[in-house]
């Protein structure tokens, strides 16, 4: 029966998917009209990203909102500083969109909120400014785009040592979902530290985040990202700045020491891992009518499933060895000696070591096994994760609360927010810091609830602080701090202009984009991981034979059959074809999707990379500086590739008359109306440019500094 199935599948391969791409860019007016119509009758495209979404179950916690504002005002009074005036509605609108969902409002969304639409009707009609703002915040926080934007921020946690993106895809997808579902943040981190399983399950993301082959790097990143603890120096010597010594480093790593790493210890060992691949390899070499490269297909099963696809087993050791070149000046210990797991700060987690504990094993190398007799009886990894994410841990909530504040207001209550230095790091406003920690606890680590409070503060709705602002202990927050938008926000703002179909833009992610789905996922789903030796042999030989007949390599044949283009190209399904247009920029396949839906991190010569997206090669790697490559991209490339005649915002402009055309462009780019002077200048430009008038104005607007600023 099994063979029959395989043959059936192989048979399917005959119909080749078409390679034609693209629809969205060159949408003629008629189709646009259709979309407009479709929206009106409420089918095909869902209207805006903001409709039909859940609302919060509880009312806004005004008490906490007011508490923050009171503390801020008190502090400013003490400092003798005046807060900034309240920002205009349109400034606040754009700020909320950018901060919560990572993009500018569309023309329609702008008009809707401001009551400026052609119909004059607004979803927010009849409401006071404050009530409108509150409702908008709730809607934005509950929109699916919230997850895209938060993802851009939190995915910086991953330090990706190589460029292999395949398995990360599952981790990214999982992370976006958790952020949108508002899984409590402590739980999220606990899961990332402890879950086991297969990466293709979708929840077995743990492994990806856990090590990716390099424990020391992973451990350093984890401690730094979530605790602001920079302990990696102590791996080789006592910490030069902080008071950690080298022994303490190994006491920390002892929680996670991976005695269970070898395949033998995997509790969920898959049947496929038990197969003797050498035997099959031999079989392949004996067979005559196979494609030459059939062995490469076997390697997929032999290599990937045994080594990579499995999450690690939970560790139970709780014991580590000091390294051979142990050289601490501050702590006693001998190279090779066993040390029990112990944390550097906070409450010691309970581990149950056998008594008496022997530190025997001196002079041994670090890689030699820790004898089982010395292991803790309970699971040390879980103990570690529990301590790491505990609400009373002195670092976890502190670092989180400060990061949320910084993300919202532009600067942390302590800086650098990324790294806490013992005895040196102190918040500029300790009472406010404490209040924030309390709020995070009270909201049980639900980020949306915390953001909801922060975005509703009076402080957030003030005009931004501008100029040379640096952190100091005697600073006060007079308003959020103006800054350049992130690389992702810059890109997404251009996507709004390009892809906006008369106000309906939510940057819908692609369903199962095949270039990012790996054949292994298909194997997993089809149950191939449960193959026994005979079945796997038969399967591989079959593909090899068919490939030979078809005159292609076994891998190529297999990829096509599974609907994958391998790791490089991709054969999109009909559905995907409708939504994707390929642009051959620099010889690399690029797409006009939201930044979070593209390859993460983007390729090095992508717009996003040039604008400072984190390379994920180090933590906190995103930058917002100007560069001439950015300027070149905006001056030339962006115009050529993003402004398609009669599409996106240029289509909307086409629907308007007179000065309204120019106003529409201002609404879509800067979320405001032009001043008299600006209108005059733009009209002059339009007169000189003739038929290119609106293209030229759009060029000016997207190149402006205001377009790349968060006000």
């Amino acid at each position: 029966m099994f063979i029959h199935e395989v043959n059936k599948m192989l048979g399917k391969c005959a119909s080749r998917p078409s390679k034609k791409y693209g629809v969205i860019t060159l949408i003629p007016r008629a189709i646009h009209k259709f979309f407009t119509f479709a929206t009106l009758i409420g089918s095909a495209f869902c209207h805006l990203s903001l409709s039909g979404i859940d609302t919060f179950s509880s009312p806004l916690d005004l008490k906490q909102v007011e508490r923050i504002d009171r503390l801020i005002e008190k502090r400013l009074r003490t400092l003798g500083v005046k807060p900034n005036p309240i920002a205009s509605q349109e400034v606040l609108l754009r700020r909320l969109y950018l901060q919560i969902i990572g993009r500018n409002p569309t023309v329609r969304e702008f008009e809707d909120y401001m009551g400026l639409g052609p119909s004059g009707k607004s979803a927010f009609a009849d409401r006071g400014a404050e009530e409108k703002k509150r409702e908008l915040i709730d809607r934005l926080l509950q929109s699916r785009e919230y997850g895209m934007n938060e993802f851009n921020f939190w995915s910086e946690m991953k330090n990706e040592p190589d460029n292999s993106n395949m398995k990360l895809f599952y981790f990214w997808a999982w992370l976006k979902k958790q952020l949108n579902d508002d899984l409590p943040f402590d739980e999220l981190v606990f899961k990332m530290l402890t879950e086991t399983g297969n990466v293709f399950q979708g929840d077995g993301v743990a492994r990806e985040f856990r090590q990716n082959g390099n424990f020391a790097n992973w451990f350093a990143d984890t401690m730094l990202f979530f605790h602001g603890a920079h302990i990696t120096c102590a791996q080789c010597h006592d910490h030069p700045f902080d008071s950690y010594n080298q022994k303490q480093y190994y006491e920390m790593t002892a929680f996670l020491r991976n005695e269970g790493h070898s395949m033998e210890n995997l509790p969920e060992k898959l049947p496929i891992n038990k197969i003797d691949m050498g035997k099959i390899r031999k079989r392949i070499s004996q067979e005559k009518n196979l494609d030459d490269r059939t062995a490469a297909l076997l390697n997929r099963f032999a290599f990937w499933f045994s080594k990579w696809a499995q999450a690690e087993t939970t560790t139970k050791a709780g014991v580590d060895r000091l390294p051979k070149d142990f050289e601490s000046l501050e702590a006693e210990g001998e190279p090779g000696q066993l040390v029990k797991a112990k944390v550097l700060y906070g409450k010691q987690p309970d581990l149950h070591f056998p008594a008496p504990f022997s530190s025997e094993g001196k002079k041994k190398g670090r890689n030699s096994q820790v004898p089982k007799e010395s292991w803790s009886k309970n699971d040390s990894r879980e103990a570690f994760a529990g301590w790491f994410t505990d609400k009373n841990n002195p670092r976890f909530t502190l670092v989180l609360a400060n990061r949320l504040w910084k993300k919202t207001m532009g600067m942390g209550l302590f800086e650098p927010a990324e790294k806490i230095r013992e005895g040196k790091t102190a918040p500029s406003d300790p009472i406010l810091m404490e209040a924030l920690i309390e709020i995070v606890h009270q909201k049980q680590f639900r980020l949306k609830e915390v953001y909801r409070i922060l975005y509703n503060t009076t402080l957030f709705s003030r005009e931004s602080s501008r100029g040379s602002i640096t952190f100091s202990m005697d600073m006060g927050f007079t308003g959020p701090i103006s800054r350049r938008v992130s690389a992702e926000q810059m890109w997404d703002n251009l996507m709004v202009l390009r892809n906006d179909l008369v106000g309906q833009f939510d940057g819908e992610p692609l369903p199962d984009h095949p270039s990012r789905l790996h054949p292994y996922k298909a194997y997993y789903e089809k149950g191939y991981l449960n193959f026994n030796e005979e079945e796997l042999t038969e399967y591989i030989l079959n593909v090899g034979r068919e490939a030979k007949k078809a005159g292609v390599s076994a891998l190529e044949y297999e990829n096509k059959r599974l609907g994958h283009g391998g790791t490089k190209g991709a054969i999109p399904s009909a559905e995907v074809e409708k939504k994707v247009e390929n642009l051959n920029l620099n010889g690399i396949e690029y797409k006009f999707l939201r930044a979070s839906e593209l390859r993460v991190p983007a390729r090095i010569d992508h717009f996003l990379a040039h604008f400072g997206q984190s390379t994920r090669k180090e933590l906190f790697g995103s930058v917002r500086e100007a560069s001439s490559t950015q300027a070149l991209l905006m001056l030339n490339w962006a115009e050529k590739n993003l402004f398609v005649e009669d599409s996106g915002i240029l289509f909307t402009v086409g629907e308007r008359v007179g000065d309204d055309k120019i106003r529409t462009l201002f609404k879509g780019t800067l979320s405001r109306l032009p001043s008299e002077k600006e209108l005059r200048f733009m009209k002059e430009l339009a007169d000189n440019s003739g038929k290119n008038a609106y293209r030229d104005i759009l060029w000016v607007l997207v190149n402006s500094n205001e377009f790349r600023s968060l006000l």
Binding site: P161, D238, F471, A609, S627, S628, L635, S704, E706
Partner: protein, 437 residues
């Protein structure tokens, strides 16, 4: 924010830093806080000549015995590779490189490189960044040069990477940020991709746009005097100057005669090196050119007979041109690769990775011409004399040495750790290959 200032570069930004923030944020004069206290003295060349570098990276692992260090005594292992004499007595090359053989009185050949890694990823990383992949985004050589040296031509980028294959291992700015990243040219014949389309807008339209843009930016700056706004205005001015500058044609290969292009060869690499020459002539500091496809696990003879002469022709043309124009004095031309190959035949008539001992070329920039430094072992496996072994650290600081850079000077990474070009002081420059004066 403090961290970001460290990377700013425009003049105004620079002034702000020097007056406002003190030296620490600029990475200058940091006290040695390293627990190991290893402070190594930097050697300085009395009269460093190199102002620019062309870094030719042979991606995949160039076989030393099929290029610049053949071992005819090994018999069958050499397969079809024959040996030819070179301009220097007693030095012999594989027959795929007749032109470089005729010109080896113009450059220095190193036969004792050793990376100690047989992994492409690590090898490419180490040869570009002198660190192993880890928790910091170490800057590649081009970014160090961009960070440490001022521009020689404000109209052009300081560093350019042509035909890069490694996802930014050579072209990224590392922890110095996007500002110090190289401008990447995916296809040399197409020039600078983002710069091309300006010409399509008429002069009138272009000036109308810029007039309106300047008005808008001025209005906005009036409203928002943040540093970043000023920086963006400066960068825009500089970029517009670049687009209008005659130097912009440096990116245009069509300005070269057919004859010249013919000399470099009708190959991707030939065009890449020709573009590199044009950029160096226009005072770009650092140009990397990658040639890929050298990982010859299979059919190495077929591959070498196709690819060897291509490399031979292009590099010989480059060195000759630079010598004729006199630019070779101030330009260090480097050929390197992540490792060599094994001394036996494996796979389907190929050779596997051999990191033990292999070759690279250094030309110009004050390096003694006609010199052969070091030797691989008789069996082409490893380096003959240990003391002549050249590690990636040595190689890295040798480039810095040629340019007169303080390779031990420490800079802060984004998470405030200290790094210098010289990884933990391990490298020392090959000062003996430099001409005395």
């Amino acid at each position: 924010m403090l961290a970001n200032l460290d990377n700013s570069e425009t003049r105004r930004a620079f002034l702000r830093q020097s007056t406002g923030l003190g030296l620490a944020s600029l990475g200058l004069s940091l006290p040695s806080a390293n627990a190991q206290g290893s402070s190594v003295a930097t050697l300085f060349l009395k009269n460093p000549k190199a102002k620019k570098i062309i870094y030719l990276f042979v991606d995949g692992g160039l076989s030393q015995i099929d290029s610049f260090d053949p071992k005819p005594q090994m018999g069958d292992v050499m397969m079809n590779t024959k040996v030819i004499d070179t301009k220097i007595d007693g030095v012999r090359y594989a027959h795929y490189f007749p032109m470089l053989a005729q010109h080896n009185d113009k450059y220095c050949l190193i036969r004792s490189m050793s990376t100690g890694t047989a992994s492409h990823g690590t090898g490419v990383y180490v040869t570009h960044r002198n660190y192993r992949p880890g928790t910091a985004n170490h800057p590649p050589i081009g970014a160090w040069i961009s960070k440490m040296l001022p521009s020689l031509n404000e109209n052009l980028p300081k560093t350019v990477a042509i035909h890069e294959r490694s996802q930014g291992i050579g072209s990224s700015g590392g922890f110095f940020g996007a500002k110090h990243a190289a401008t990447t040219i995916p296809v040399a014949a197409n020039g600078l991709p983002a710069g091309k389309q300006l010409a399509q807008v008429s002069e009138d339209r272009a000036s109308g746009r810029i007039k309106a843009l300047k008005m808008l930016n001025e209005e906005f700056h009036h409203l928002n005097k943040s540093n970043f706004v000023r920086d963006h205005m400066d960068v825009l001015d500089n970029t517009l100057a670049l687009l209008r500058s005659p130097d912009f044609s440096a990116f245009d290969l069509s300005k070269e005669s057919d004859q010249t292009r013919e000399r470099y060869g009708d190959s991707k690499l030939g065009r890449g090196l020709l573009l590199a020459r044009r950029l160096i002539e226009n005072d770009v500091r650092f140009v990397e050119v990658t040639t890929s496809g050298w990982d010859h696990h299979n059919n190495i003879m077929d591959e070498m007979s196709k690819m060897g002469p291509m490399l031979d022709r292009a590099l010989a043309a480059l060195i000759t041109d630079l010598q004729h124009s006199g630019l070779l004095d101030e330009t260090l031309v480097v050929l390197t690769t992540e490792f060599g190959r094994q001394n036996h035949i494996s796979g389907n008539k190929g050779r596997d990775h051999g990191p033990g001992g292999y070759c690279q070329i250094l030309a110009g920039g004050g390096v003694k011409p006609g010199l052969v430094y070091g030797e691989t072992a008789e069996d082409a496996q490893g380096v003959k004399e240990k003391k002549e072994k050249v590690s990636p650290d040595d190689f890295f600081v040798t480039m810095a040495y040629a340019m007169g850079l303080d390779y031990n000077k420490k800079y802060l990474s984004l998470d405030k750790r200290q790094f210098s070009m010289n990884n933990r002081g391990k490298g020392s420059p090959l000062n003996s290959i430099f001409a005395a004066s």
